[in-house]
């Protein structure tokens, strides 16, 4: 089912949580709703689900206006930030709930329910836990049960509120992959909320960046990474070095081979766009190597700008381990920098 939001606004008292949101999500996409804490992600998701009422604007699912429809009739699967499993029910009964509350004509027989629930539990690879209670499960297991429960009623839209928020890093990594595969299998239009840009880029086919209740940019992960629409998006997606172009910075940037005659007052440079070479003439070196850290395959290098004035700010560059070894530089060595490209903002 496709999702279309037009002019959605929401206030809580004086506070404007969402401001004129327009968003179109085609059928079958897996979309990440990305933004810092408190920017309105949950609120937007709840409005789509019908758990919250927007002050203005309309919610259309498959072209049908569902703005006034009650949450129980929207056919939306919602996975809550803190799972919200029914604590007094076993895993099996949790997953069966949505089937059992159907009215008599639509309700499957107990045997059908049982086979469907077991199939779903197998899908999330947790069938062996069917008679446990939620408080006897780990966070990752609860997460997957919550997902199975939402899938039981065959929702046409799946909304996941920070599905991996409460999990540790390694479990998150596994579940991301798993969610992608699952989406591939079921192909149900899905939105998942996250404030982790890496997660958004890795899992989603489309990323929507939200800030202060407004959509900053929407596009494919590579689109957003390579062509950030504004300063906020650029700063939020991945690490950047920020230069404000007063006279000194401009002069310094010139020495790194970057064309400064351009475009704006602020330059964002990604760490991997900074190339490092050993200084030929140490008196004219553009920077001094301060320190480095290993990030797995990459190495992160801390550099200090070599300028006449006091603005000796730190820069970060990244390069593969091997390349760094070939450089043969030590802490305190002068280096020359070559900045390949920057994003310019006003």
């Amino acid at each position: 089912m496709s999702i279309l939001l037009t002019n959605i606004s929401k206030r809580f008292g004086q506070f404007s949580a969402l401001h004129d949101i327009n968003l179109e999500i085609p059928e079958g996409e897996l979309v990440a709703l990305l933004g810092p804490s408190g920017c309105g992600k949950t609120t937007l998701l709840r409005i789509i689900a019908g758990l919250e009422k927007a002050d203005h604007g309309r919610v259309l699912l498959s072209g049908e206006d569902k703005t006034e429809q009650h949450v129980s009739h929207r056919g939306i699967g919602f996975v809550f930030q803190h799972y919200a499993l029914f604590r007094h029910m076993t895993v099996f009964n949790n997953v069966a709930f949505g089937l059992r509350v159907k009215n008599r004509r639509q309700r499957p027989s107990e045997a059908q329910i049982a086979s469907k629930v077991h199939a779903l539990l197998e899908l999330v690879q947790l069938d062996w836990l069917h008679d446990r209670y939620p408080d006897q499960l780990s966070g990752g297991q609860r997460q997957r049960i919550a997902l199975a429960r939402a899938l039981a009623v065959e929702p046409s839209v799946l909304l996941l509120d920070e599905p991996f928020g409460a999990l540790d890093a390694s479990v998150r990594k596994d579940l991301r992959q798993w969610l992608r595969n699952l989406h591939h299998e079921l192909n149900v239009t899905s939105i998942f909320v996250t404030h982790d840009q890496e997660e958004a880029m890795e899992v989603a086919s489309q990323v929507v960046v939200l800030n202060h209740g407004r959509i900053e940019q929407q596009g494919s992960p590579s689109d957003i990474y390579d062509h950030p629409a504004n300063e906020f998006v650029s700063g939020f997606i991945g690490q950047t070095n920020v230069f404000t172009l007063d006279a000194h910075d401009a002069e310094w940037l010139q020495t790194t081979g970057l064309q400064v005659t351009q475009q704006g007052a602020i330059a964002h440079v990604r760490p991997h766009d900074i190339e490092i070479t050993k200084a030929l003439d140490s008196s004219k070196a553009t920077a001094v190597l301060k320190d480095w850290q290993h990030l797995g395959a990459l190495i992160r290098i801390e550099l200090i700008k070599n300028t006449d004035n006091d603005k000796k700010t730190t820069l970060f560059a990244e390069m593969p381990n091997e390349q760094f070894k070939r450089l043969q530089v030590n802490k305190g060595d002068p280096v020359d920098l070559n900045i390949r490209q920057a994003h310019w903002f006003h």
């Binding site: 009650h70 803190h82 029914f86 949505g98 509350v101 159907k102």
Partner: protein, 285 residues
């Protein structure tokens, strides 16, 4: 201090941290236990002793007196009328306060406690002022030949007022702590409002609810002050069990008074046992 060295290690660890010498601990426990025995156990035992002072026979015949029987029936009737109603009102109020935002919500939350904060006698008087002959509705009521004050409806009404907070006050903190996410999850899975209440909310609050009902019932049966004001003390008609105890006692019918009191005391003990059982149940969850 040989007693100290004989103690198991974990209590020793406590003692080391708290630095309470043993005589302080024994002294405080002694005072607490002594107080309980003196002010709770002895009076309760005394009720029994006095009730049976003239033997089983006298006890029994005091209980089967028509006036005593009428008082018991009225007490039961009052409880049966007020407890279900207040269970319903309590759930409704707790639901409204914890699940909705509305104007005047904090006022409502405060008002729920009103019956606890005014003296029961005042509560009774309020009802007399409202429904008594000289009261606001008195004229209209007597014109329509309706009797509330000095009659059973007044007793039920005033008990309803007095016992209103019990259920709501048990439920509100629990439902606040629970949050509404599980209910929202149920709704999003297609459940109706009723299904959500009976399948999700009720199972989660049932022990607290029972606890509230129990306390509500104990008070409904035991209320004296407010009921005394509106009842009129008509023997065999508007005397509840607590009032009957007082009337009998004032008439120097000690066995009658204490026999009725023993019923109330027995009720209190049963309530206490059930309450402990419920608390234990809740603690286990």
């Amino acid at each position: 201090m040989t007693a100290n060295t004989n103690q198991p290690t974990h209590t020793r660890a406590y003692a080391d941290v708290l630095h309470d010498p043993i005589w302080v601990r024994i002294g405080l426990s002694g005072i607490a236990i002594g107080f309980i025995v003196l002010f709770l156990c002895i009076p309760l035992a005394l009720v029994m002793v006095e009730a049976f002072a003239k033997g089983w026979q006298a006890y029994w015949s005091a209980l089967i007196l028509p006036d005593t029987q009428a008082a018991m029936r009225l007490t039961l009737l009052t409880a049966m009328a007020t407890v279900p109603l207040n269970t319903f009102f309590g759930i409704a109020a707790a639901w409204a306060i914890t699940r909705f935002e509305f104007f005047g919500k904090s006022l409502l939350t405060t008002l729920i406690d009103l019956p606890f904060s005014v003296s029961p006698v005042i509560s009774g008087l309020i009802f007399v002022l409202l429904f008594g002959l000289q009261g606001w509705f008195g004229h209209w009521l007597s014109a329509h030949n309706l009797k509330i004050i000095f009659a059973v409806p007044g007793i039920v009404l005033v008990t309803l007022f007095i016992t209103f907070p019990f259920v709501a006050r048990e439920l509100i903190p629990l439902m606040q702590e629970m949050g509404s996410e599980e209910e929202e999850a149920a709704l999003s899975l297609g459940a109706t409002g009723w299904q959500t209440f009976f399948l999700i909310t009720l199972p989660n609050i049932k022990w607290a609810l029972l606890y509230g009902i129990l306390l509500c019932n104990a008070r409904a049966m035991g209320e004296f002050g407010a009921v005394s004001v509106v009842s009129g003390h008509i023997r065999g008609l508007t005397n509840t069990l607590p009032l009957h105890v007082e009337v009998s006692y004032n008439e120097y019918d000690a066995v009658g008074a204490f026999a009725s009191a023993s019923i109330l005391a027995g009720l209190a003990v049963v309530t206490l046992v059930l309450k402990t059982a419920l608390e234990w149940r809740q603690g286990k969850k």
